[in-house]
């Protein structure tokens, strides 16, 4: 049995848990509402050039919420429920289990892309025409992969934090801004842009919008950056998860019981 099989089993576990937990599917309830709001504002302002932003933003928000909120809860929930101790006592590294589970969580968030597309098409009669479909598909795929890496990182950060709820509540909105999800980064103050470039969402949002408009001329760089930032986040997340286990074994904080 390979480590990849462990990741797959953990993925299956999370898919089952999410299916049985309505709270995990809230993203899918919220995404159509967000699409409706953003599209309504866009159309009322007579800005057809911003329709792509209104349709793509809920998908990116869904990915970020799933990475931050739901992936961040994977380990703490196991700790509270007394599952962490037997998990640590098993020979398989916890990192693999977390990786499989956050992947499933992120995929639920990614479904928001499809939903917002449907809301635009069926609700507003606005079918987004993608001028570079290949680049668009690659951008969605890279964004999902980077989200998995970021979800892993957020899981580690939140699990190690003593102020989990505060962290989860306060980290959503700043990243919508830094990620240029609802408006382009060019409208941000110049001093904020370097920070934005460290957030994969900013590259994803721009690449997705540009591929819709047919202006994604620097797509190889954007794709490579998205994947590089995702890989860095994944490595950081794996290290943090490993550190979480080591700290728990040193300090005796494996379980809350």
């Amino acid at each position: 049995m390979t480590y990849l099989t462990v990741v797959w089993r953990a993925f299956q576990l999370q898919a089952l848990l999410s299916r049985r937990s309505p709270a995990h599917l809230l993203i899918l309830l919220i995404a159509p509402m967000q699409t409706t709001s953003l599209l309504a504002m866009t159309l009322q302002a007579h800005r057809p050039d911003a329709v792509a932003t209104a349709v793509i933003a809920p998908g990116l928000i869904g990915l970020w919420v799933s990475s931050l909120d739901y992936a961040g809860r994977v380990v703490p929930e196991d700790q509270w429920a007394g599952r962490f101790t037997p998990m640590i006592a098993a020979p398989v590294p916890l990192t693999l289990v977390v990786a499989g589970r956050v992947t499933a969580v992120v995929l639920v968030g990614a479904m928001a892309f499809g939903e917002s597309w449907l809301v635009a098409a069926l609700g507003f009669g606005r079918v987004l025409t993608v001028h570079n479909p290949g680049v668009f598909a690659a951008a969605v795929l890279a964004t999902c992969l980077a989200s998995v890496g970021t979800a892993m990182l957020m899981s580690g950060v939140i699990s190690l934090s003593r102020a989990r709820d505060v962290l989860q509540n306060s980290l959503s909105y700043p990243f919508y801004i830094l990620g240029g999800i609802v408006f382009p980064l060019t409208v941000l103050p110049a001093w904020m842009r370097p920070f934005s470039h460290l957030v994969f969402l900013s590259w994803s949002a721009r690449l997705l919008r540009d591929s819709v408009h047919g202006t994604a001329h620097d797509w190889p760089l954007a794709l490579a950056t998205i994947l590089a930032l995702g890989t860095a986040a994944l490595a950081g997340g794996m290290w943090l998860t490993h550190r979480l286990v080591n700290l728990a074994r040193h300090k005796g904080t494996v379980g809350y019981a």
Binding site: V6, L17, A81, G82, T85, P86, A89, V92, A257
Partner: protein, 314 residues
């Protein structure tokens, strides 16, 4: 032959901010032979769970060593984890929204079992712990006893050689507890070794080959369960049941009687020797008290005498 568990001078402290560290285990040395059911007794906060956690690799010792079937729990963590099973008591520790079978399939993958093997073992274990008919129900519908049995099935999935059970029958009804103990004996007969941390003296007496008593991190005694009463010395005593306190007072002044004490459900007269016990029994019979019998201290009495001054303190 290598011992199943060999702990030597184990010490574990928990650091606290601006306070002295808490010593959870202090210089604890313990050896458990293969194929033994070993009871670990002690009050809350005695260090039982800390010891179980160190032996099951989820906690690092501050100093000292511990080996499981010859493998060091710190240096050879991976090897140890494949050899041990950890069964924690209580309602928690499972994925409540998933079925019993699904739980086992997931936990099996953490021991690198292939899908076919884990399915086969899960079916067999569910049958063995009496959950086969409820295997496809969500665990959230299970009673505490059913959860305990599922915990045990999870701990057995990878066929470990050494099992650590932490309060495995707490909250079980008597019938379920008896069935649980029978199952543990069967598993021992298959060659497994058990370390059973418990507060339940009846359980330890019924199940364990040997017991260790720990308190405040110190190992107070380790002995065969049948002989553990010796810790209180070869004291002679006579137990009897009687409602009248005056009878006990009258008995207390007899020459061979050292003292008479009130136990939960009976009186106990401590005597100077065997002849003294015979005379006390005769004295009781003369007064139509036919419930008298020679007695030896039970495991519970040893426990209460050794750590009984603790009250509710931890």
């Amino acid at each position: 032959m290598e011992a199943a568990v060999a702990a030597s001078s184990l010490r574990r402290t928990y650091e606290r901010r601006r306070k002295d560290a808490v010593v959870a285990l202090d210089d604890l040395t313990l050896t458990i032979a293969r194929n033994e059911i070993h009871g670990l007794l002690g009050p809350n906060g005695a260090g039982k769970t800390t010891l179980v956690k160190i032996l099951s690799t989820v906690l690092l010792p501050t100093s000292g060593t511990a080996r499981i079937l010859g493998h060091d729990v710190v240096a050879e963590t991976k090897a140890v984890r494949s050899l041990i099973g950890l069964v924690l008591g209580g309602d928690r520790g499972l994925y409540d929204r998933l079925t019993a079978r699904r739980n086992l399939l997931f936990w099996g993958s953490l021991y690198k079992l292939d899908a076919r093997t884990v399915r086969r073992r899960a079916d067999a274990l569910l049958e063995r712990v009496g959950l086969a008919e409820r295997a496809d129900e969500p665990v959230e519908r299970f009673s505490r006893g059913m959860r305990q049995r599922l915990h045990l099935a999870r701990g057995l999935l990878h066929e470990p050689q050494v099992l650590f059970l932490d309060e495995p029958t707490s909250g079980l009804d008597p019938v379920a507890a008896v069935a649980f103990r029978r199952l543990v004996r069967e598993l021992r007969d298959e060659g497994r070794t058990f370390l059973l941390a418990t507060h339940d003296m009846d359980e330890a007496t019924a199940l364990c080959d040997r017991v260790s008593l720990i308190d405040r991190g110190h190992l107070l005694l380790t002995d065969d369960t049948a002989n553990v009463g010796r810790i209180l010395g070869d004291r002679e005593c006579v137990d009897f049941v009687h409602e009248d306190d005056s009878l006990a007072r009258a008995l207390a002044v007899l020459p061979p009687v050292i003292d008479v004490e009130r136990l939960d459900d009976r009186w106990r007269a401590h005597t100077v020797d065997r002849e003294g016990s015979r005379r006390v029994l005769a004295w009781l019979v003369e007064r139509d008290v036919l419930t008298g019998r020679r007695a030896q201290p039970t495991l519970e009495e040893v426990y209460l005498r050794t750590v009984g001054d603790r009250g509710m303190r931890v």
